[in-house]
Subunit: 100 residues, 2 copies
DNA sequence: TCTATATATCTAGAAATTTAAATATATTTG
DNA sequence: CAAATATATTTAAATTTCTAGATATATAGA
């Protein structure tokens, strides 16, 4: 972890919806229904479900999630036409260790 | 910790100078010289020293530090005409626990 | 009380972020 | 291949943040 990356992570975490998404993804089973194409949450939650739950537009959520993925907070896995996102616990730990 | 406070903290940590200040304050002895009026760093570092080290204007640094204090990241102690700031490790832990 | 120093607040222009509509791209399915 | 669906990118207007100069306030010391 370095100053620049920590600042990029901070920017992602400076918006209530984005912090909320990080919280929702802590417990996908509780916060999201099963996706039609996958029977588990091993690769996280489908982008469409995050969009629906947030109430924001598709383009806004796509921008948010792309940035959160770029700085490493989220890990993206594609299955066909769907994208699934999960928390990157390793990076989150590096970040919180850096702050402490 | 709640979503709103976590977002305010995130805003403070979304700027490189402010993250840098949090890092500097981890080790005042290493990063700052002794202040003329106090012989230890028990109450942290004098605002003027933080301003000097950052290179930003007095008003900008004052605004930064006031906000960081308002959301609880920093603890302010006044001694006469000087203000000293130190990290609020308790809140920082609450925040990092919230993220994890 | 007058002056100097430390910090906070007000103000405003510059820069960055927010947000969604429009459009583009990728994938699946008929 | 055409149509439908999922997601990404472009664009632009609205809002927020950044930053410092000017000014205000507080404290110390002469």
């Amino acid at each position: 972890m370095n100053l620049k990356l920590a600042t990029e992570i901070g920017k992602c975490l400076s918006n209530q919806t984005r912090v909320q998404i990080m919280e929702w993804l802590k417990d996908p089973e509780k916060n999201f229904r099963q996706h039609e194409s996958l029977r588990n949450f091993d690769d996280g939650v489908c982008v469409t479900h995050i969009k629906d739950k947030s109430g924001l537009s598709q383009s806004t959520i796509s921008t948010y999630l792309t940035n959160m993925q770029k700085c490493g907070l989220l890990i993206l896995t594609r299955h066909g036409k769907w994208s699934y996102l999960k928390r990157n616990e390793k990076l989150i730990k590096e970040y919180t260790d850096f702050l402490k």
